[in-house]
Assembly symmetry: C2
Homo-oligomer: 582 residues x 2
């Protein structure tokens, strides 16, 4: 464990159950290639446009009115504040990557507004403050008050870790203290219908050292499933209040709520050393991965209540797969990766990042999918913003913090989980990574500096990959962690064959039975356009098929499959991932 906490999204304390140590912005830089371009676009285009959208939608005005600096009525959904907080969190991580006077100015303006709107007792919720002060905490099932506060805390954590001036942390602490005073151990047995404050409280505990926040998070996790949200008209399962977390065998209800809850559950488990609770998280993750996850990493099978479906209920066309659910999945998997060191969590993060998550934003960085089906008859279009705008700023905060998810270290070495061209400064060594990933499967790692003692370099070989080859200074090695005494200038090359492959669905997924998906490396492909697009320059093959349709000659037309993440950028045409296998 290094001396100072990294500028990272999740930073377990020294008391936590943790196998891997996160490396943050000061240690990992994505300098070129696929994700570098997306981080650049996020910083230069998406986040500034997001501010404009927040202004247009009235999210900032709500704070101005609450602060007595403007007149008007509350605008937007009850949880409109959370969009500002998520945007603030994104900017926090951006400022941790590199200074930006303009982003810092906007962040200060937002922070100052939140502080000015905050009530003396620490409560801040512009919906409540602008509509009906007596509403406070009267509709915990659907009110989103702790949910909004959670995002405020997460924003504060990002700014704190990035070296912010502490104002946002002070605001967050006042908010957390107010919540603790209201719902803390031995007080009102309430909890929020939308989980979010739970992981946020643990993170704020990690930043501030205030153990009450961890205890509050723990209490909130344990309260779930005991009928405290009975008033929820969408049923207890919607808010994961149908059973205690520890008794759960499978995620159910609103997918984003369930996944944020699992982030909190995992955070509480590792910080309290509760291996039983951690086992619950692992068990639920396994079940989710095996029975409720789309090939894109998308989660949430039903539009109704934005919820998980039954096991293997994974329809491609009516899939919900909210962009926020993909983001929450990355957040949860990362927590379990740190806790266990198990590479399958990094596999899941990869699948989700490149597919289910990345489809959520247009190539120009200005439009968003809220829902990410695996098949569309056409007409599904990205929007520049939403009335319920949870997804856009959520995309911003994940892209701004993406480098946090690339690598970890331990006392014994460095683990590279995701591949991007850049620099990794770990305790044992400084690595320079060069790769054309995900288009090319070659990953070149140069040891730029190293400690004299031996350490192990672990480069993840994705589960989808057959035939990975590793060389160390040109010599073939096993594609496994390489422990040795390293010298500056050592070169490790990992070759991951990216040949396109066909993937059959799980036989129990009825909706796509008999179908087949095209994948290449970490990317899921889709056929876009009105059915199949023909390349007029490509040759047309023909084939005698005595077995088919009474005996016909078929014409083989090369159809072009494109990465799923890029779909819907050329008009809202038809698209599908699962293709029919002849």
């Amino acid at each position: 464990m290094p001396d100072s906490a990294p500028v990272a999204s999740v930073v377990p304390t020294t008391e936590a159950i943790a196998k891997l140590w996160p490396l943050g912005s000061e240690a990992v830089r994505i300098e070129d290639g696929f994700w570098a371009e997306r981080q650049r676009l996020n910083r230069e285009v998406t986040i500034p446009a997001g501010w404009a959208e927040l202004e247009r939608a009235g999210a900032l005005d709500n704070f101005r009115i609450a602060a007595g600096r403007a007149e008007g009525e509350f605008r937007g959904m009850r949880f409109h504040d959370s969009d500002v907080y998520k945007w603030l969190e994104a900017v926090g991580w951006e400022l941790g990557r590199a200074p930006s006077p303009e982003l810092e100015r906007l962040a200060r303006e937002a922070t100052e507004l939140v502080g000015a709107a905050q009530l003396a007792d620490g409560y801040v919720n512009t919906y409540c403050q602008l509509t009906d002060a007596s509403w406070r905490y009267t509709d915990l099932a659907l009110g989103h008050e702790l949910y909004c506060a959670g995002h405020l805390l997460q924003a504060a954590v990002a700014h704190a870790r990035s070296g912010g001036d502490g104002e946002l942390v002070a605001i967050a602490r006042r908010s957390a203290d107010e919540i603790d005073a209201t719902f803390g151990p031995g007080r009102r047995e309430g909890l929020d219908g939308h989980a979010e404050v739970e992981p946020a409280l643990v993170e704020l505990y990690r930043v501030t050292g205030e153990r009450r926040y961890l205890e509050l998070a723990s209490v909130l996790v344990e309260r779930r499933g005991h009928g405290h949200l009975n008033a929820n008209p969408r049923g207890a399962v919607y808010s994961q209040d149908h059973e205690p977390v520890r008794a759960s065998a499978s995620l159910a209800g609103h997918a984003v709520r369930a996944l944020y809850l699992m982030c909190g559950v995992t955070d509480v488990a590792v910080e309290t050393g509760d291996t039983e609770l951690l086992d619950v998280a692992v068990r639920l993750w396994d079940d989710t991965a095996a029975t409720k996850t789309y090939i894109t990493g998308g989660l949430g099978s039903r539009h109704e209540h934005e919820s998980f479906g039954d096991a293997y209920e994974l329809p491609p066309d009516t899939a919900y797969c909210e962009t926020c659910a993909a983001i929450a999945s990355v957040m949860w998997s990362w927590r379990l990766l740190l806790a266990t060191g198990d590479a399958r969590y990094a596999d899941s993060i990869e699948r989700t990042l490149y597919n289910g998550f990345l489809a959520g934003i247009s190539l120009d960085g200005l439009r968003f999918f809220y829902v990410n089906p695996l098949e569309s008859p056409g007409g599904h279009e990205r929007q520049s913003w939403f009335e319920c705008a949870c997804c856009p700023p959520n995309v911003m905060r994940l892209l701004a913090s993406l480098h946090h998810y690339l690598a970890t270290d331990t006392d014994d070495g460095v683990q590279v989980h995701q591949y991007a061209t850049g620099t990794i400064e770990a305790r044992a060594a400084t690595l320079r990574v060069a790769t054309g990933y995900p288009w090319s499967g070659r990953v070149e790692v140069e040891v730029a500096a190293t400690r004299p003692e031996p350490w192990a370099l672990a480069l993840r070989v994705p589960a989808w990959c057959d035939g990975a080859r590793l060389t160390v200074n040109g010599e073939e090695a096993e594609a496994a962690p390489v422990e040795r005494t390293w010298s500056a200038g050592d070169r490790v090359v990992l070759d991951l064959p990216l040949a396109p492959r066909l993937t059959a669905p799980h036989p129990r997924v009825e909706a796509v039975r008999g179908g087949v998906a095209v994948e290449r490396g970490p990317l899921v492909y889709c056929i876009e356009g009105d059915d199949v697009a023909i390349d007029p320059g490509a040759p047309l093959g023909e084939r005698e098929r005595p077995d088919l349709l009474g005996g016909v000659v078929t014409v083989e037309t090369p159809a072009t499959a494109v990465p799923y993440f890029a779909w819907g950028n050329r008009g809202a045409g038809a698209m599908r991932v699962w293709l029919r296998a002849r």
Copy 2:
């Protein structure tokens, strides 16, 4: 001109304008291959099943009731009788191909029933007879009485040419005489809203030599467009009564009506030597081919009123393309081919037969499409019969007479228009044709017997074909009619390259602009299945596309296009002909 009339669908008289002489069942036999199998299935499966369907639907019972042999009420559409007549025509052509005691028995039963139902004055229409005798000729626009009579006449012509016993011809003459007595020259200026009796009368004239029938047909053709069908609630254009035929620049209204009318117009023109009227037909055919015909040969763009659309209004998904319209188109084109000798009519027949027509029947010969779109989102299924059952027996009569459309002769030689393995006994020679068409483009013609004088062999080179090669006894020849002194044993080989090709739509067809269709030889292909079907055994290519979607690697998935005619035989999935061109 040979001594006796052939057993053919259209047999111009010696006075007619005619460039080519039809060769009927006694001269042309399809003995193997693509169409032989379809003729066999039609005879052994489809036609017998058709009888059962006619029984089930009450079409035969209507006659039994009208004949006083059964009790009950009329069942079916007003024009239900016509289904019996078309079935009878199909059997007539079958009996002309080869004897069949069973088919002959059924045909006799039907003929006897029709005769028994026929009124003393020659009128026979079970709808009128079973519902309201006073209805006769009160709703000419939509009543279908002459339409039904027309199909009766066509059935009689088929049986007469096939050597039938004359009973059906006697019935048909009584019917025609009654119509002539009612609507003949100088009598009531009526006509039927659904053309059909016009070509039928000309054909009956050809069989019987009764010139009144030709004159009646001529009068009916000329009456159109003079407001006699004003009562039609679907508008005059529905029944081609909006303008005189001679003034028409483009076909409009109900497609099958318009096309049957044009058969009659062409028949009248050639038999009366009216070159001006023939020019009208040619002009309308040209306009139809250029602006209103689908790539499948299908006709009729609109579901509303089953009608033609405007020029270049050829939407693929909402196309009507009634199977009967494809059949009527073949009938019309054949008449113009005989009259002019112009191979483009044979080209059109080929395109229509292999695509727009043949899709109308399932591979098992038991189910039918009424509507033949070029694109379906799924759910379009062939039915075993229809309440409005015009198409199934129409398919039967065309398949039973298909060999009529293969070849013609003249005093100077033999013309082969369509390719099938079999024998052609023309005046000049007997030819044995062997071909794997349409799968293979090689057509081998052996001169089995020949007259000693020179004659010309014309093998059509389809308009779609580039690079046709012809050899005569192994020696390269020009791919054009070969005139020479032939000897028995001479071998002519025509090689038509069938390489799959991409076809762009006419630029004025807005609905498919930018699209591309796959064709191979005479066959139009489609992509069937839910978008694109993947062959798991085929290799997957990949391609760097810096130009696409910000730079991606695409995966080239071989999609299998199948002949359009065969679609919808593996469930009612999605289908499309026009594909998007990248």
